[in-house]
């Protein structure tokens, strides 16, 4: 992109996110959703949070986003202690959050308006990102008349246009049907590749996790802990856009088998 909005990614060796000993208790301390969880995110990596239902993936993501606070522990973004939500961490929700009272174009513009990006640059970036998510023909359409996948693409464009350092996604394609989901996954790989973002995506779909992620953090349940931290080395440091190609790679089947076994262990 030749135009530059405010960049939330400083040039340092400090990890974009460092979570140290995060514990989250609910119900006055009688229920531990997360228990002493520590990890770092790496620059320009896609990390998938995988684990059985109720293991605390959403809780962890919302703590990173600043929408919830941990009971114990510390959270640093580029070495700075996190206090509440901020535009350095963009979030895409499972529920459609494109605003129904704004057209697709106004939606994408909205995030940049909040950041006070000058009008001319804002407009150019908006059109750019609408094109990137293939919605330029629907610029003046209200979300009501868009399909679920299109609404989610509006949300994606709105978040990317703000140029956050970290993008957080909570089952972003969970409500979409199989074929649209697949299209969205491809689009996402393409966009992340292009925009160079650090991403955390929650998914309960093991195949999706392997396809999208450079690294999988597997959570165990009750209390929520990190069961395994798996770098997807079998991809050889690349992202594979063609799903068919990925399926043929040596190591794919073995990893999938392993993840399913871990999942079974958790839900038994």
């Amino acid at each position: 992109m030749n135009i530059v909005a405010k960049d939330f990614t400083p040039v340092t060796n400090v990890p974009p996110l460092k979570a140290s000993r995060i514990t989250k208790e609910y119900l006055g301390g009688s229920f531990k959703a997360l228990d002493d969880v520590s990890f770092e995110l790496h620059n320009n990596q896609i990390t998938a949070f995988v684990g059985p239902s109720g293991c605390g993936k959403t809780t962890m993501l919302r703590i990173i986003a600043g929408l919830e606070y941990p009971t114990r522990g510390r959270l640093e973004v580029f070495g700075k202690n996190v206090q509440g939500p901020g535009p350095d961490r963009g979030m895409i929700f499972q529920a459609y959050t494109s605003f129904p009272w704004l057209t697709a174009m106004q939606n994408v513009e909205y995030g940049m308006k909040i950041l006070k990006v000058p009008a001319a640059e804002r407009r150019e970036r908006t059109m750019n990102f609408l094109k990137l998510v293939h919605l330029e023909k629907f610029a003046d359409t209200y979300p009501r008349s868009l399909s679920g996948g299109m609404k989610q693409r509006v949300a994606l464009a709105r978040t990317l246009a703000q140029n956050p350092a970290i993008i957080l996604m909570d089952e972003p394609f969970g409500a979409l049907d199989a074929q649209v989901r697949w299209e969205m996954q491809e689009l996402m790989i393409e966009l992340i590749e292009r925009e160079k973002k650090t991403v955390v995506a929650i998914t309960h779909d093991i195949e999706e996790a392997i396809y999208l992620a450079d690294r999988i953090i597997f959570f165990s349940r009750q209390p929520g802990r990190i069961k395994a931290d798996i770098p997807l080395t079998f991809k050889g440091g690349r992202r594979i856009k063609q799903k068919e190609e990925l399926l043929e790679m040596p190591g794919y089947a073995e990893l999938e088998r392993q993840l399913f076994a871990m999942m079974r262990e958790e839900i038994k």
Binding site: A65, G66, L67, G84, P85, G86, P87, R89, G90, M91, F93, A95, T97, F99, P100, W101, L102, Y110, G111, I114, L115, Y142, P143, R144, S145, A155, R158, T159, Q162, L168
Partner: protein, 294 residues
């Protein structure tokens, strides 16, 4: 596999395209009058609405003629009510009463909305504000507005202020609780999306919560203005020289049932008009919310 697909494709191409007849028209099953959730066309809806109104007026007329002749005075026909209406407008300056009634509704409802809508929105947004006001407002909601009439008459006398105050009291507490519900009902992710985009509280309030809740709030207002009319008639019956209610009350004293009914019809017509105006305004104000026609 690809071979057999090719074969089927070529067999399609081989069909002589000229003597192919169009497929027979599909005959859908007979549509019943009572189809679940089937929406009639606009045209049909207006025909049905007309029939419904006709049935109402028919019953009315039948009721009139079935009443024994000695008592018919107390159940006037449509024609009689119509001429009473004409007489009211032509000879008794009824337009003045109608406009003063509308004015009372307008002023009181504007005041109730100007205060009630912001309070309801703030209560819906912020738990502390809700905790501050809600218990007290709930108690107020249970007080019948009519019970304030003696108090208002002592304070203001039989003035316009008294009537407007009564309408205001009758509407505002319900309006606040409806707006509160409308505001809490918005998708919580809208606010969270705003937070993660770095929006200030003011921007989230005015740029996200308000537009998200406004169509529902507008609907609540439309419903509450109907309640306004109820209290208007009570207020004007109790102590007024002018207004539709006062005209009806005076007519009652002389057993002029046709005039009373003319008043009822007028209020009904004004109510219908208000509803149409609100719906039309909602269409213009919230184009994103307009039902898609398939």
């Amino acid at each position: 596999m690809s071979k057999s697909r090719d074969a089927s494709v070529s067999s399609l191409e081989n069909l002589p395209s000229e003597n192919v007849e169009a497929a027979p028209l599909y005959i859908p099953p007979k549509e019943r009058f009572l189809e679940f959730r089937r929406q009639p066309s606009t045209q049909r809806a207006s025909v049905l609405a007309f029939i419904g109104a006709l049935a109402f007026f028919g019953l009315w007329e039948a009721g009139h003629y079935l009443t024994p002749a000695s008592a018919r005075k107390f159940f006037p026909s449509i024609g009689e009510v119509g001429s009473a209406l004409y007489m009211l407008f032509a000879e008794r300056n009824f337009l003045h009463d109608v406009s003063i009634s509308c004015w009372r509704i307008f002023v009181s409802f504007m005041a109730a909305s100007a205060i009630g809508v912001p309070i309801g929105i703030l209560m819906g947004c912020f738990g502390n504000i809700r905790a501050l006001f809600n218990p007290t407002l709930t108690a107020w909601r249970y007080l019948p507005a009519a019970s304030f009439i003696p108090l208002l008459l002592v304070w203001f006398g039989p003035t316009d202020q008294a009537k407007i105050a009564l309408l205001f009291i009758g509407v505002i507490f319900f309006l606040i609780s409806l707006v509160l519900d409308n505001t809490t009902a918005i998708q919580k992710e809208f606010v969270e999306a705003g937070l993660t985009m770095g929006a200030s509280r003011r921007v989230i309030l005015t740029g996200i919560v308000v537009p998200a809740a406004l169509p529902a709030i507008f609907d609540s207002m439309r419903n509450m203005i109907a309640v306004s009319w109820t209290y208007l008639v009570i207020a004007e019956i109790v102590g007024a020289q002018d207004g539709i209610g006062a005209v009806m009350m005076r007519a009652g004293r002389f057993l002029n049932v046709d005039v009373i009914m003319a008043g009822i019809v007028t209020i009904g017509a004004l109510g219908l008009l208000t509803d149409v105006i609100f719906r039309g305004a909602a269409r213009v104000l919230f184009p994103w919310n307009v039902e898609r026609r398939s």
